[in-house]
Symmetry: C2
Subunit: 335 residues, 2 copies
DNA sequence: GCACCGTTTGCACACGCTTGCAAAGCGACC
DNA sequence: GGTCGCTTTGCAAGCGTGTGCAAACGGTGC
């Protein structure tokens, strides 16, 4: 639609007095070009403002350099931190990120993957939601790499990166008991994600081993407001908990704010709180929240390394388990 | 490199017993295909798992459907909120977002724009940094649309979306004075962005009209930690301010935390605080921060509308000024 | 001069798609 | 039946690039 079109390799070739192939080879690392023609081509390209057309290149090479990031709740602290790390490391690996937001409308992960196929993305990274088996099969059949982060799926083919949610739940339970807490609670959302449920189950199991039954509540979406509601529900019980593990830092922040400002409860003296994710706000002095840090950078590097690998070792089951690091702060007594 | 290639329109055509053009037309809205062939093509496509190759389509149409979002500090609350809105609205407009992260290494905005050109992006939206004039000219010459958000540049050609930073600064100054404050301060970062400086100048000017000289400090990058440092600097002065306007909510949160937890100052009784952006944390009850809401959704819709417009009215100067809405909360006395 | 070898270069085809153009099909009307 | 008009269809020419292949080149060693 533009009056002036982009400048093509042909024009550069004419100006440099060489063939079009020479231009192409100049911009293809490892191709055979003499130093002299290379220089002349580069000069002409610079003068004309030439840039290789990656659409055409991708068409030829059958490799676009595009990696699709499929994600909902982009504006959430944890998600955006992961997004940051992924884009950065992808760029370092010479790839470029295509961002597909799957907020609103369910089943849109499938739609997103279709979009990834249309743009012939070399790979897709799924940070949220779970795709239908048929569509992932379609992706894999077309040679598209797939990475599932914290999705805990059992489909063979994609790389699956997960955390030790269950064990983390256990660790925090013993930490609570060691801090002298006796009435343990778990605050969860209704999302029912495998990672969230893993934390819950691990926490309950470890408490059971210590002879403690855990109060569990689930409400709403995994955000600040839900944390407040959960606090209202749990702190008005006759047997009020003196320690609560929130499935997420956002929940924990909401819970803590409600406990302090609506119930006048002091943290950690009367109530110990722990969260998960280690979002930036967890370190803010208003919260000073003990939590588990997701190894965001390591997650990203595993993902990027896998999807840049030339060899597609089909058939094997690729799955990575990383451990979340317990960040000890002031929301639990006796650090 | 994959053993099996993607399925092409040719294969669909053969299976459906029609020509390749028929397949192409079936997937081109508004093209002339009979209902019968259309049905047969769709059936064959579904069976084979065919998806139009947007790289090839973009090559032909000279219109990729890709929009580049160039942004640093992706994990920041305000930026990620804007990102969320942009991706969502772009998708609704039938575009797809390519995310380029310009953290680390300066001048990378230019590199990002080059990347946008390589992928023949229809447009680029710049959320941070400022590109060199030569490179924006190159983009415009190639028919690539450009949107600058809060960059306050004077280059003709791109759409420039800005806020009434200066006026907002003025409004908050009078609000402080009306609340009985007498010693006004402005906490800024050293970034020196036009929007940040606009708020500062507007605040100072309005205070001057009321006969008040403003204490100004600038430090570091526009984040929580910088806010803490600024508090340390300002609250140890002999003439301690009783109202501070922070250029950003993140600064304000840090400032408030330091004021309360390190200096034992009560907000808003002894110190009124205001911020800018209305990030989610501003509404959290630990902060309850009076601030200006950026009209994120409107910013995004202006950007998307402009870059989907068919007509490229060259020569005209396109610039939009939006007003930030004052969100009145508890960090200023007497709301 | 000639055979040999390694490097550089150009030709031409392929990638998967869109689209102008003309031919074909189909009714309807005189 | 012939003419006109409209819709549908296939052909083929591109879009900008990568790359195999063979020819051209340039330098050795005899």
């Amino acid at each position: 639609m533009s009056s002036k079109l982009f400048v093509s390799a042909q024009e550069v070739a004419e100006r440099a007095g060489v063939s079009r192939s020479a231009v192409s080879r100049t911009f293809t690392p490892g191709a055979s070009v003499s130093a002299d023609t290379r220089r002349r081509v580069l000069e002409a390209a610079e003068a004309l403002g030439y840039h290789v057309n990656h659409l055409a290149r991708g068409l030829m090479r059958n490799e676009s350099g595009i990696v699709c990031l499929i994600v909902s709740d982009v504006a959430t602290p944890y998600r955006s931190a992961l997004l940051r790390e992924l884009t950065l490391q992808l760029q370092n690996a010479g790839k470029v990120a295509m961002l597909i937001n799957t907020d609103r409308s369910d089943g849109s992960v499938d739609r997103a993957l279709r979009q990834a196929i249309r743009y012939r993305a070399d790979a897709s990274v799924i940070l949220s939601g779970l795709p239908d088996k048929s569509i992932t099969q379609l992706c894999l059949r077309n040679g598209q790499r797939l990475v599932l982060i914290n999705r805990d799926d059992d489909q063979p083919g994609p790389l699956k990166i997960n955390l030790d949610d269950y064990e983390s739940g256990g660790r925090i339970a013993t930490a609570f008991v060691r801090a002298g807490c006796r009435t343990l609670a778990f605050a969860n959302s209704e999302a029912g994600t495998p990672s969230l449920m893993g934390r819950e189950r691990g926490f309950i199991a470890a408490a059971a081993r210590l002879g403690i039954e855990v109060i569990v509540e689930r409400y709403g979406w995994t955000g600040y407001e839900a944390g407040k509601v959960l606090a209202q529900r749990m702190l008005t019980r006759t047997e009020r908990p003196d320690a609560v593990f929130c499935a997420t830092d956002l929940l924990a922040c909401g819970f803590m704010d409600a406990a302090r400002h609506q119930f006048g409860i002091s943290v950690p003296d009367q109530l110990c709180i722990a969260g998960f994710d280690d979002i930036e706000q967890a370190s803010w002095s208003s919260y000073d929240l003990t939590t588990f840090a997701q190894p965001v950078s390591m997650i990203a590097s595993h993902a990027v390394e896998w999807l840049s690998k030339a060899e597609n070792a089909d058939g094997e089951d690729h799955s990575v388990r990383l451990t979340a690091e317990l960040i000890w702060r002031g929301s639990i007594r006796g650090g």
